[in-house]
Symmetry: C2
Subunit: 270 residues, 2 copies
């Protein structure tokens, strides 16, 4: 098993078979972990990535973001777990202002020391209330159609991600779309924030794409107890959902779905 894949238990809900099945099986997840990029002992960026080929990623990021132009400038790249430190030829000047985009981020939290999940704990996030709201399995299966019908009005491009906020009774409350899935969620949570409706502890969030750490983090901080996605979750998305007691649903389509964390809120129709 390559280090880019993690095996986790998953509970599958499938209404397409004659008798609805509810089985616990093993599933494969894409591993997502932070990589801290440093150059000359200076933090340059943190990117969430799949481990493997980290030296290539460090080199490629620096090149495609305009930090270095010649491979001869790179003397050495040291990778250790979630850090990649580049040593440049001493004659090379790095002009951060001359980069293609201004992309560097500070990282005082230090991914290398403190984990992404711990950073969320430090931001005051706590365990979501257990077992509430209770959601019917059939209600979950109805979400994609509702989101798609709403999205079809806006998205003639095939290029927009959607985020939909649903009540615990399955009513679509709010939809936002964006080229960036994180932006669609930020717009939706931002609306609720401006309306003074946070935390969203009686709501479900559904997204059109895959689920990364970033999306689970945004849902956790907003108090959302159930996050469902059309696509696959990453390993860190699942770990974060487990840590904060969020119900995390993936591959919600064609009348099926997988639950990767906390089935306790789901009422099976069996």
């Amino acid at each position: 098993m390559p280090s880019s894949i993690l095996t986790v238990p998953v509970r599958r809900f499938d209404s397409t078979v004659h008798v609805p099945s509810l089985s616990e099986e093993q599933d494969f997840l894409a591993v997502e972990e932070p990589l801290q990029l440093t150059v000359r002992n200076r933090d340059l960026a943190i990117t969430m990535r799949t481990p493997g080929n980290d030296a290539e990623l460090a080199a490629g990021f620096r090149f495609t973001e305009g930090f270095v132009r010649q491979s001869s400038a790179v003397v050495d790249i040291k990778c250790s777990r979630n850090c990649a430190a580049v040593t440049l030829d001493t004659g090379i000047e790095i002009d951060l202002n001359g980069t293609a985009r201004n992309f560097y981020m500070t990282s005082s939290c230090g991914v290398c020391g403190k984990t992404s999940i711990e950073a969320l704990e430090n931001a005051g996030c706590t365990f979501l209330p257990r077992g509430i709201p209770r959601i019917q399995e059939s209600l979950i299966r109805s979400l994609p159609t509702k989101l798609r019908e709403s999205q079809a009005v806006f998205d003639r491009t095939g290029g927009l991600h959607a985020a939909g906020l649903f009540s615990a009774q399955g009513e679509l409350i709010l939809v936002r779309e964006d080229v960036g899935r994180h932006n669609a969620v930020d717009k939706l949570v931002g609306r609720a924030f401006l309306d003074g409706r946070l935390p969203l502890d009686d709501y479900l969030l559904m997204v059109s794409g895959r689920t990364s750490f970033e999306l689970v983090q945004k849902a956790v901080i907003s108090g959302i107890p159930v996050l469902a996605a059309v696509g696959a979750p990453s390993s860190l998305a699942v770990k974060t959902a487990l840590r904060f007691g969020m119900t995390l649903i993936g591959f919600l389509r064609d009348d099926r779905f997988n639950v990767y964390a906390d089935t306790g809120r789901i009422l099976s129709s069996k």
Copy 2:
């Protein structure tokens, strides 16, 4: 037409109809533009987003990234074209170290003043050589299967994006996978960079997802003349490809594809 959608001319190649068709039509693109987020006149972040609901995005980003916790703290959000400036209650302290993730970026280029494309020009990117390499239409249609066959070995998760580098003769040279599509491209370009093979001016890049500005930028800076994607391009992806003379292909699947910029490298099989 909402401001989140842009209409552009597109050339469709379709081998599934009896006589292969090559038609120029109109297509709808999701608009992608940078939004500069500032708070107390301090640059906080730049995000590439679809215009619309910018105040919500600004509020949501600040909340979900842990900068503010109470809606009463936000006195005002002023949005003008691609900037959103938040005014906080003077009593509110912002603790950048206490954020959920350390996410703030500097933005000395100033999205508000200088455009993303100009930033690429300033990084030394120039127009890609016209008309080379020449690529057979049928070769382009063969790319998805080759990429998928290669990816199937690795991706049992449904959660990994793939980037494949192909020779002008259609040979798959290199594949990289990652939860982040930009990382998959960075790993691939990083390998070529470390091997001293840049610029990649005789190669095609194929990606498994959609095409954003970020991916086109990374391809332009690497000298890649042809970028093909399974999904849709954004408006800024197309604008950038047009500016630098890159052949940009979208919706490459089921023996069809659309060309959004520079058909001059494609030899039609008609």
